[in-house]
Protein backbone atom coordinates (compact mmCIF):
# COMPACT_ATOMS: atom_id res chain seq x y z
CA UNK A 1 0.00 0.00 0.00
CA UNK A 2 2.79 2.42 0.60
CA UNK A 3 4.94 4.50 -1.45
CA UNK A 4 5.02 4.04 -5.23
CA UNK A 5 3.20 7.27 -5.87
CA UNK A 6 5.08 10.54 -6.43
CA UNK A 7 2.54 12.82 -4.93
CA UNK A 8 1.98 12.65 -1.20
CA UNK A 9 -1.45 11.43 -0.25
CA UNK A 10 -3.41 11.68 2.88
CA UNK A 11 -3.78 8.17 4.20
CA UNK A 12 -7.55 8.17 3.99
CA UNK A 13 -7.72 9.40 0.42
CA UNK A 14 -8.00 6.71 -2.20
CA UNK A 15 -8.58 6.83 -5.91
CA UNK A 16 -11.93 5.21 -5.33
CA UNK A 17 -15.44 6.60 -5.16
CA UNK A 18 -16.40 7.52 -1.63
CA UNK A 19 -19.10 4.95 -0.97
CA UNK A 20 -21.93 4.98 1.55
CA UNK A 21 -20.08 2.32 3.59
CA UNK A 22 -16.85 4.35 3.62
CA UNK A 23 -18.79 7.38 4.85
CA UNK A 24 -20.46 5.23 7.50
CA UNK A 25 -17.04 3.98 8.63
CA UNK A 26 -15.56 7.47 8.95
CA UNK A 27 -18.73 8.77 10.59
CA UNK A 28 -18.80 5.97 13.16
CA UNK A 29 -15.13 6.46 14.00
CA UNK A 30 -15.67 10.21 14.47
CA UNK A 31 -18.77 9.68 16.56
CA UNK A 32 -17.20 7.04 18.81
CA UNK A 33 -14.19 9.30 19.39
CA UNK A 34 -16.45 12.30 20.09
CA UNK A 35 -18.30 10.18 22.67
CA UNK A 36 -14.98 9.24 24.29
CA UNK A 37 -15.37 5.52 23.60
CA UNK A 38 -11.88 5.51 22.13
CA UNK A 39 -9.31 8.15 21.33
CA UNK A 40 -7.64 9.12 18.06
CA UNK A 41 -4.35 7.84 19.48
CA UNK A 42 -5.92 4.45 20.22
CA UNK A 43 -7.33 4.25 16.71
CA UNK A 44 -3.91 5.09 15.25
CA UNK A 45 -2.16 2.52 17.46
CA UNK A 46 -4.71 -0.15 16.52
CA UNK A 47 -4.17 0.54 12.81
CA UNK A 48 -0.42 0.12 13.37
CA UNK A 49 -1.02 -3.18 15.17
CA UNK A 50 -3.10 -4.37 12.23
CA UNK A 51 -0.24 -3.59 9.85
CA UNK A 52 2.27 -5.48 12.00
CA UNK A 53 0.44 -8.81 11.76
CA UNK A 54 1.71 -10.66 8.69
CA UNK A 55 2.23 -14.28 7.65
CA UNK A 56 5.94 -13.72 8.37
CA UNK A 57 5.16 -13.91 12.08
CA UNK A 58 3.71 -17.39 11.55
CA UNK A 59 6.57 -18.56 9.36
CA UNK A 60 9.04 -17.58 12.09
CA UNK A 61 7.18 -19.79 14.55
CA UNK A 62 7.26 -22.71 12.12
CA UNK A 63 10.99 -22.35 11.43
CA UNK A 64 11.80 -22.15 15.14
CA UNK A 65 9.67 -25.25 15.78
CA UNK A 66 11.62 -27.10 13.06
CA UNK A 67 14.99 -26.40 14.67
CA UNK A 68 14.01 -26.54 18.34
CA UNK A 69 11.94 -29.54 19.53
CA UNK A 70 11.27 -27.99 22.93
CA UNK A 71 9.87 -24.87 21.26
CA UNK A 72 7.79 -27.10 18.99
CA UNK A 73 6.23 -28.73 22.04
CA UNK A 74 5.45 -25.34 23.55
CA UNK A 75 4.01 -24.09 20.24
CA UNK A 76 1.66 -27.08 20.09
CA UNK A 77 0.63 -26.38 23.67
CA UNK A 78 -0.07 -22.64 23.30
CA UNK A 79 0.72 -20.61 20.18
CA UNK A 80 0.13 -17.25 21.87
CA UNK A 81 2.66 -17.99 24.63
CA UNK A 82 5.21 -19.43 22.20
CA UNK A 83 4.85 -16.37 19.97
CA UNK A 84 5.45 -14.11 22.97
CA UNK A 85 8.82 -15.86 23.48
CA UNK A 86 9.84 -14.48 20.08
CA UNK A 87 8.47 -11.04 20.90
CA UNK A 88 5.36 -11.57 18.76
CA UNK A 89 1.99 -10.40 20.10
CA UNK A 90 -0.52 -12.97 18.83
CA UNK A 91 -3.50 -11.26 20.48
CA UNK A 92 -5.96 -12.40 23.12
CA UNK A 93 -7.90 -15.01 21.12
CA UNK A 94 -6.27 -18.42 21.72
CA UNK A 95 -4.50 -19.89 18.70
CA UNK A 96 -3.81 -23.61 18.37
CA UNK A 97 -1.22 -25.14 16.05
CA UNK A 98 -2.15 -28.41 14.35
CA UNK A 99 0.90 -30.44 13.34
CA UNK A 100 1.17 -32.33 10.07
CA UNK A 101 2.59 -35.86 10.34
CA UNK A 102 3.54 -38.46 7.73
CA UNK A 103 -0.03 -39.78 8.17
CA UNK A 104 -2.13 -36.60 8.50
CA UNK A 105 -2.31 -33.33 6.57
CA UNK A 106 -4.19 -30.49 8.24
CA UNK A 107 -6.29 -27.76 6.59
CA UNK A 108 -8.03 -24.82 8.28
CA UNK A 109 -11.40 -23.24 7.43
CA UNK A 110 -14.22 -21.35 9.07
CA UNK A 111 -17.47 -22.51 7.47
CA UNK A 112 -19.64 -20.19 9.58
CA UNK A 113 -17.87 -16.89 8.98
CA UNK A 114 -14.18 -16.28 8.31
CA UNK A 115 -12.40 -16.85 11.61
CA UNK A 116 -8.65 -16.73 11.08
CA UNK A 117 -5.66 -16.03 13.35
CA UNK A 118 -5.57 -12.46 12.04
CA UNK A 119 -3.86 -11.03 15.12
CA UNK A 120 -0.89 -13.26 14.31
CA UNK A 121 -1.00 -13.61 10.51
CA UNK A 122 -2.83 -10.51 9.30
CA UNK A 123 -6.00 -10.62 7.22
CA UNK A 124 -7.04 -13.88 5.58
CA UNK A 125 -6.80 -14.17 1.80
CA UNK A 126 -9.98 -13.31 -0.10
CA UNK A 127 -10.56 -16.93 -1.13
CA UNK A 128 -10.59 -17.99 2.53
CA UNK A 129 -13.62 -15.74 3.05
CA UNK A 130 -15.47 -16.87 -0.06
CA UNK A 131 -18.35 -19.29 -0.29
CA UNK A 132 -16.55 -21.75 -2.57
CA UNK A 133 -13.68 -22.55 -0.20
CA UNK A 134 -15.83 -22.50 2.94
CA UNK A 135 -18.56 -24.73 1.48
CA UNK A 136 -16.39 -27.24 -0.29
CA UNK A 137 -13.22 -27.84 1.72
CA UNK A 138 -14.99 -29.80 4.48
CA UNK A 139 -16.77 -32.09 2.01
CA UNK A 140 -14.29 -32.46 -0.85
CA UNK A 141 -10.92 -31.41 0.55
CA UNK A 142 -8.94 -33.26 -2.10
CA UNK A 143 -10.72 -31.52 -4.98
CA UNK A 144 -10.20 -28.12 -3.34
CA UNK A 145 -6.52 -28.75 -2.57
CA UNK A 146 -6.02 -29.94 -6.16
CA UNK A 147 -7.27 -26.53 -7.32
CA UNK A 148 -4.42 -25.08 -5.28
CA UNK A 149 -2.01 -27.48 -7.01
CA UNK A 150 -1.68 -29.70 -3.95
CA UNK A 151 -2.29 -33.40 -4.59
CA UNK A 152 -1.68 -35.65 -1.58
CA UNK A 153 -1.07 -39.41 -1.61
CA UNK A 154 -4.13 -41.57 -0.98
CA UNK A 155 -2.72 -42.95 2.28
CA UNK A 156 -2.49 -39.51 3.89
CA UNK A 157 -5.61 -38.57 5.82
CA UNK A 158 -6.75 -35.00 5.38
CA UNK A 159 -8.10 -33.45 8.57
CA UNK A 160 -10.04 -30.21 8.10
CA UNK A 161 -10.35 -27.95 11.14
CA UNK A 162 -13.52 -25.87 11.17
CA UNK A 163 -12.98 -22.84 13.48
CA UNK A 164 -16.45 -22.75 14.97
CA UNK A 165 -15.55 -21.52 18.49
CA UNK A 166 -13.28 -18.81 19.87
CA UNK A 167 -10.15 -20.74 18.94
CA UNK A 168 -8.06 -20.03 15.88
CA UNK A 169 -5.92 -22.53 14.02
CA UNK A 170 -2.62 -22.52 12.15
CA UNK A 171 -0.98 -25.50 10.52
CA UNK A 172 2.50 -26.58 11.57
CA UNK A 173 3.75 -28.24 8.38
CA UNK A 174 6.54 -30.84 8.29
CA UNK A 175 10.07 -29.71 7.53
CA UNK A 176 10.84 -30.62 3.92
CA UNK A 177 13.57 -33.13 3.07
CA UNK A 178 16.88 -31.69 1.94
CA UNK A 179 16.86 -28.69 4.27
CA UNK A 180 19.32 -29.95 6.90
CA UNK A 181 21.90 -27.33 5.87
CA UNK A 182 19.51 -24.37 6.18
CA UNK A 183 19.35 -21.87 9.03
CA UNK A 184 16.17 -20.66 10.68
CA UNK A 185 15.77 -17.59 8.49
CA UNK A 186 16.18 -19.59 5.29
CA UNK A 187 13.73 -22.18 6.58
CA UNK A 188 11.14 -19.51 7.36
CA UNK A 189 11.40 -18.32 3.77
CA UNK A 190 10.21 -21.75 2.57
CA UNK A 191 6.93 -21.34 4.42
CA UNK A 192 4.16 -19.39 2.71
CA UNK A 193 0.92 -18.09 4.15
CA UNK A 194 -0.96 -20.89 2.39
CA UNK A 195 1.28 -23.43 4.17
CA UNK A 196 -0.10 -22.05 7.46
CA UNK A 197 -3.68 -22.64 6.21
CA UNK A 198 -2.83 -26.04 4.76
CA UNK A 199 -3.52 -25.34 1.08
CA UNK A 200 0.20 -25.59 0.24
CA UNK A 201 3.29 -27.42 1.48
CA UNK A 202 6.73 -25.91 2.09
CA UNK A 203 9.11 -26.88 -0.68
CA UNK A 204 12.87 -27.32 -0.39
CA UNK A 205 14.75 -25.12 -2.85
CA UNK A 206 15.90 -26.85 -6.02
CA UNK A 207 19.62 -27.52 -5.95
CA UNK A 208 21.58 -25.54 -8.49
Amino acid sequence: MRGHDHRPKQPDLEDLPYTWHMALTDALADLLMAKGIFGADELRATLETIDQATPAQGTRLVARAWVDPAFRARLLEDVNAAAAELGIDAGAIPIRAVADTPEVHNVVVCTLCSCYPRFLLGPPPDWYKQRAYRSRVVREPRAVLAEFGLVLPDEIRIEVHDSTAELRYMVLPMRPEGTAHMDEEALAALVTRDCLIGTALPRAPQRA
Binding site: R157, V160, D162, L167
Partner: protein, 104 residues
Protein backbone atom coordinates in the same frame (compact mmCIF):
# COMPACT_ATOMS: atom_id res chain seq x y z
CA UNK B 1 -21.34 -26.62 36.92
CA UNK B 2 -18.80 -26.54 34.14
CA UNK B 3 -17.25 -29.98 34.78
CA UNK B 4 -17.02 -31.62 31.33
CA UNK B 5 -19.62 -34.27 30.66
CA UNK B 6 -17.52 -36.00 27.99
CA UNK B 7 -13.89 -36.96 27.67
CA UNK B 8 -11.45 -37.74 24.86
CA UNK B 9 -12.51 -40.81 22.88
CA UNK B 10 -16.21 -40.52 23.79
CA UNK B 11 -18.63 -40.83 20.92
CA UNK B 12 -21.16 -38.03 20.84
CA UNK B 13 -24.16 -37.23 18.68
CA UNK B 14 -24.85 -33.64 17.70
CA UNK B 15 -28.43 -32.58 18.38
CA UNK B 16 -30.59 -32.09 15.34
CA UNK B 17 -31.91 -28.76 16.59
CA UNK B 18 -32.82 -25.94 14.28
CA UNK B 19 -33.60 -22.97 16.53
CA UNK B 20 -33.77 -19.36 15.40
CA UNK B 21 -31.04 -17.05 16.62
CA UNK B 22 -27.26 -17.11 16.47
CA UNK B 23 -25.71 -20.55 16.97
CA UNK B 24 -22.23 -21.88 16.15
CA UNK B 25 -23.07 -25.49 15.31
CA UNK B 26 -22.75 -26.04 11.54
CA UNK B 27 -25.72 -27.72 9.85
CA UNK B 28 -23.52 -30.39 8.28
CA UNK B 29 -22.75 -32.06 11.64
CA UNK B 30 -26.23 -31.88 13.18
CA UNK B 31 -27.63 -35.37 13.82
CA UNK B 32 -24.21 -36.94 13.18
CA UNK B 33 -21.90 -38.91 15.46
CA UNK B 34 -18.32 -37.90 16.10
CA UNK B 35 -15.53 -38.63 18.54
CA UNK B 36 -14.27 -36.19 21.16
CA UNK B 37 -10.62 -35.37 20.38
CA UNK B 38 -9.98 -32.90 23.20
CA UNK B 39 -11.88 -31.07 25.89
CA UNK B 40 -11.13 -27.39 25.25
CA UNK B 41 -12.84 -26.34 28.47
CA UNK B 42 -15.38 -23.69 29.46
CA UNK B 43 -15.72 -20.78 27.05
CA UNK B 44 -18.14 -17.84 26.82
CA UNK B 45 -21.44 -19.01 25.34
CA UNK B 46 -21.71 -17.55 21.81
CA UNK B 47 -25.49 -18.06 21.81
CA UNK B 48 -25.72 -15.58 24.69
CA UNK B 49 -22.76 -13.36 23.77
CA UNK B 50 -24.44 -12.72 20.41
CA UNK B 51 -27.18 -10.85 22.27
CA UNK B 52 -24.78 -8.94 24.51
CA UNK B 53 -25.26 -11.18 27.54
CA UNK B 54 -21.63 -11.27 28.54
CA UNK B 55 -22.40 -12.46 32.10
CA UNK B 56 -24.07 -15.72 30.99
CA UNK B 57 -22.52 -18.96 32.27
CA UNK B 58 -19.80 -20.48 30.08
CA UNK B 59 -20.24 -23.62 28.00
CA UNK B 60 -17.74 -26.47 27.82
CA UNK B 61 -16.33 -26.67 24.30
CA UNK B 62 -15.03 -29.88 22.71
CA UNK B 63 -13.08 -30.61 19.57
CA UNK B 64 -15.11 -33.34 17.87
CA UNK B 65 -13.85 -35.38 14.91
CA UNK B 66 -16.24 -36.57 12.19
CA UNK B 67 -15.56 -38.94 9.30
CA UNK B 68 -16.27 -37.24 6.02
CA UNK B 69 -17.77 -40.49 4.69
CA UNK B 70 -20.20 -40.56 7.61
CA UNK B 71 -21.26 -36.95 7.04
CA UNK B 72 -21.73 -37.42 3.30
CA UNK B 73 -22.21 -41.17 2.64
CA UNK B 74 -23.59 -40.40 -0.82
CA UNK B 75 -20.20 -39.05 -1.97
CA UNK B 76 -18.12 -41.47 -4.02
CA UNK B 77 -14.68 -40.34 -2.73
CA UNK B 78 -13.35 -43.35 -0.75
CA UNK B 79 -10.69 -41.47 1.25
CA UNK B 80 -10.89 -41.64 5.04
CA UNK B 81 -10.66 -37.88 5.52
CA UNK B 82 -11.94 -36.17 8.64
CA UNK B 83 -13.33 -32.86 9.89
CA UNK B 84 -12.79 -31.51 13.40
CA UNK B 85 -15.43 -29.06 14.65
CA UNK B 86 -15.46 -27.11 17.93
CA UNK B 87 -18.82 -27.70 19.61
CA UNK B 88 -20.54 -26.61 22.81
CA UNK B 89 -21.70 -29.28 25.26
CA UNK B 90 -25.36 -28.19 25.06
CA UNK B 91 -25.41 -29.52 21.49
CA UNK B 92 -23.99 -32.96 22.34
CA UNK B 93 -25.46 -36.20 23.71
CA UNK B 94 -23.85 -39.60 24.32
CA UNK B 95 -23.82 -41.80 21.19
CA UNK B 96 -23.15 -45.18 22.77
CA UNK B 97 -20.28 -47.45 21.83
CA UNK B 98 -18.31 -47.10 18.65
CA UNK B 99 -19.84 -50.32 17.22
CA UNK B 100 -23.42 -49.17 17.75
CA UNK B 101 -22.67 -45.78 16.31
CA UNK B 102 -20.96 -47.21 13.26
CA UNK B 103 -23.78 -49.68 12.68
CA UNK B 104 -26.40 -46.94 12.93
Amino acid sequence: MTAPRFGPGDRVRVKRWDPPGHVRTPFYVRGHVGEVVTVVGPMPDPEQMAYGRTDAPPVVVYRVRFRRRELWPEDADPHEDTVVVDLGETWLEPAGTGEEARAA
